[in-house]
C-alpha cells in the first residue's frame, strides 16, 4: 500500500520550462484571438483584398527569413549550451538578437513606407473614400505592432539571459528564452500569410 502511494505519477517538466509553456499558451490565445477577429472581418469584407495589395511581400518575406533563421540560431545556442560550449552559445545568441534587430529595422522601413503611402492606424485619408478598408490597416498595425513588441521583449529577455549565460551562470535559461523566441516566430508564421501573401 504505502509503497504504491509513494510513486510520483506525472512525469515532470522542469518548473521554469513549464512556466514558459503556460505563458506561451496565454500569449498564443491572445494573438490567436486577434487573428480570429481579423479572419472574421477579412471574410466579411472581400473588398479588403485591395488593401492587402499594398502590403509589401518583399519586406514581409525578408522578415520571415530573418525570423526563421533566428529561430534556428537560438535552438543551436541551446544545443551549444547543453554541450557547455559557452563561446559557441554566446555567438549564436548574439546572432539571434542581431536577427531581432534586423527584423525591427525592416519593420520600421516597412512602416515608414506604409505611412508614407497614407496608411496609418486610423488612415484618415482612406477613411473618407473607403472607411471599411481603413479598418484593415488598423488590424495590420495592431497585429504587426503587437508582434514587434514581442520581438523587442524577446530580444531584451535573451540579452539579459546572455549576460549571465556567457559566464556559465543559469545556462538553462537559454532554453526558456529560446522557447519564448520560437513563440514569436510561430506567430509570425501565421501573420505572414494572413497579411502579406494571401491576396
Amino acid at each position: 500500500m504505502a509503497e504504491q502511494t509513494l510513486s510520483v505519477s506525472l512525469k515532470q517538466v522542469p518548473q521554469g520550462r513549464l512556466g514558459v509553456w503556460l505563458l506561451i499558451v496565454g500569449e498564443l490565445i491572445i494573438f490567436g484571438s486577434l487573428v480570429v477577429c481579423y479572419l472574421l472581418y477579412r471574410l466579411r469584407f472581400p473588398s479588403w483584398v485591395e488593401q492587402t495589395q499594398h502590403t509589401s511581400t518583399f519586406y514581409g518575406g525578408l522578415n520571415t527569413f530573418v525570423l526563421l533563421t533566428s529561430s534556428y540560431t537560438i535552438v543551436k545556442a541551446n544545443d551549444a549550451a547543453l554541450k557547455k560550449d559557452l563561446a559557441k552559445m554566446s555567438r549564436y545568441m548574439l546572432t539571434t538578437i542581431f536577427c531581432g534587430l534586423i527584423f525591427l529595422a525592416v519593420k520600421s522601413t516597412e512602416y515608414a513606407h506604409e505611412i508614407g503611402a497614407g496608411f496609418t492606424l486610423t488612415s484618415p485619408g482612406l477613411q473618407a473614400t473607403n472607411p471599411v478598408g481603413a479598418t484593415f490597416w488598423s488590424f495590420y498595425y495592431i497585429m504587426t505592432g503587437l508582434h514587434a513588441t514581442h520581438v523587442l521583449a524577446g530580444m531584451v529577455t535573451l540579452f539579459v539571459v546572455w549576460l549571465d549565460a556567457r559566464k556559465g551562470r543559469n545556462i538553462h535559461r537559454v532554453e526558456l528564452g529560446g522557447l519564448y523566441w520560437h513563440m514569436v516566430d510561430l506567430i509570425w508564421i501565421f501573420l505572414f500569410p494572413l497579411l502579406y501573401i494571401a491576396k
Partner: protein, 572 residues
Amino acid sequence: METPHSTTHAPQGFWTKYLFSTDHKTIGIQYMITGLFMAAVGGFLAYVFRYNLAFPGESIPLFGQLDAMHYNAFVTNHGMIMVLFVGMPFLVSGLGNLLIPLMIGTDDMAFPTLNMMSFWIFLVSCLVMVAAFFVPGGAFGGGWTLYPPLSASGYVNRNPAFWSTFFSATPMFILGVALEFVSMLMGGINFLVTTINKRAEGMTPFKIPLIVWFLNIATLDFMVSVGPLVAGAVMLLLDNVVGTGFYDPARGGDPVLFQHLFWFFGHPEVYVLLLPALGVMGEIIPVFSRKPLFAYRTIIYLSLIAAVLSVVVWAHHQFIAGIDPRMATFFSIGTIIISIPFAGVFLSFMATLWGGSIRFTMPMIWALGFIGLFLIGGLTGLYLGSSTFDIYAHDTYFVVAHFHYTMFPVVFFGFFSAVYFWFPKFTGKHLNHTLGMIHFWLTFIPFNVTFFVLFFNGLAGQHRRVNEYSSFSNIMKEPYITFEKISTIGAIVLMVSQFIFLYNLFISLRKGRKAEKNPWDSNTLEWQADSPPVHGNFNPYPVVYHGPYEYSHPSSEQDFVPQDNPIVLKTN
C-alpha cells in the same frame, strides 16, 4: 534526518515581513485585505445606488445627491469591482496563495518573486480603478460589460471635453482591468506550476485535496478564456484613445464582436469564481460530517467537463443581442447541459452529509448556507438558459437577482466559510463563535430579503441600470415600489452587519482563544503544520500516504487519518 531547508530565514524587518514579502502566506493575506478594501468600495457604491432606487431624488446619507451620470458610473464600477477586484483576490489569488503550497506539502510557490510581483500589479490595478473616480468627468459609466460603441466613442454619458484624453476614466477602467488580468495570469502560471511540480512525495493526482484541484481547474479556465478579452480590450482601447474603427459600424467594425469576446471570458469567469468556492465546501463538509467526500473522483471529472463546456456556452448572454437565432438555440442547449455536471457536484456534497455525524461549527453553517442559496441561484439559471424566456427576462431585475443569488454566495459565503475555517490556522487564534453566528444570520436573512423581491420586480418588466424608475409609471407601480424599498433596507442591513465580521476579526486577533495545530481534526496537510505556519511551512517535508478525506475509516481508531500518517488502512 537532514533538514531540507531552513525555517529560520524568515524575513524579520517590518517592510520585508509584511509588505515586500515573497512568502505565499503573507501574499495571500495581502490579497485578502486588498479584496476586503475593494469590497468596502464596491459595497459603498451599491449602498448609494440602492438607496437612490428606493428613495429617488432624496439626499443619500454619507453621500448626497446622486445624478444619472454618477448612477451609471457607480453601477458600472460596482459590477467590475465585485467580480474582478473582490471575487478574484478572495477566492482565486487569496485562497490559492494561502492554501496551495500548504495543502500539497511544500514550502512556497514555484516562483515566489513572480508571486510578489503579481500582487503588486494587482494592487496598482485596484488603485487605478479607484483613482478613476477622481479624474475630471468622473468614473466610467458604460456598464461593466464595456459594450462599444458606448465605451468606444464619444457618445458617453460624460462631458465630451474629457473624452479622448488618455487619463480620462474609460482608458483607466480598461487599463485597471488589463492590469488585473496580467496579475492573475502571472499568479495562474504560478499556481499551475506549483501544483504540478512541487507536490509532496506520495501526493498522486487523486490524493490532492479538492480545493487545490478546483483552484487549478479555475486557473486554467481563466488563462485560456481571458485571451480573447485581452485582444478585444486592446482594440477597444485603441478605438477609444486613437480613434480606430474596430467596433465602429461606419468603418466596418461590429459591436457584437466585442460582446462575443467579452462573454467568451465573462462566462468562464463565473466558474473561475465558483470552483474555488465549491472547493472550500469540499474541504469543510467532509471535516464536519466526519465522512469521506462523496464521489471525490467523479466530482473532479464532472468539474473538468463543466470547465470544458464553460468556454462553449458564452453566447447565452447575447440571446437577444442580434446574434443568429439558430446559434442561440445551440447555445441554449449548451447552457442547459452545463447544469448537469454542477448538479452532480452539488448532489455529491449533499450526499456527503448523509450518514455523517454533523458538527454545526461556524464554517459548516456558512457552507450549508452557501449550498442553500446557490441552489436558488442555480435553479433560476434554468429560466435564463432558456433562450425564449430570456427574450423577456434579459436585462431585467430577474437577471440581477439571479446572478446575485449565484455570485454573492460564491464570493462572500465562500470567502466567509474559508475565513471561519482557516482563520485558526493562519493566525493561531479562534474566531468568536457567538459573533460568527450573529454575523451569519444577519447576512443570510438580509441577503434573501434584498434579492428575492427583485425576482418579482424583474418579472414585472422592470429593467436594470435605470436610475429613476419614476418615468415608467406603467411598469413601476405598487407593490413594486415597496419591493424596491424592502430590497434597499435589506441591503443596508446586510452591509452594516459586515462590521460584526470585521469586529470579530479584530477582537479575535487580539484576545481570541489560542488555536492548536489541528483544531477541527482535519486530514489535509495544512493542519499538520504549525498554527500559524512558520516561514517554510514544514520541517521536514511531509510524505503523503492517504487521500485527503479518510474520515471515520473503519480500520482506524481515530475518526480521522492525516494524510501524512503512515498507518496502513485496510480497504474492504
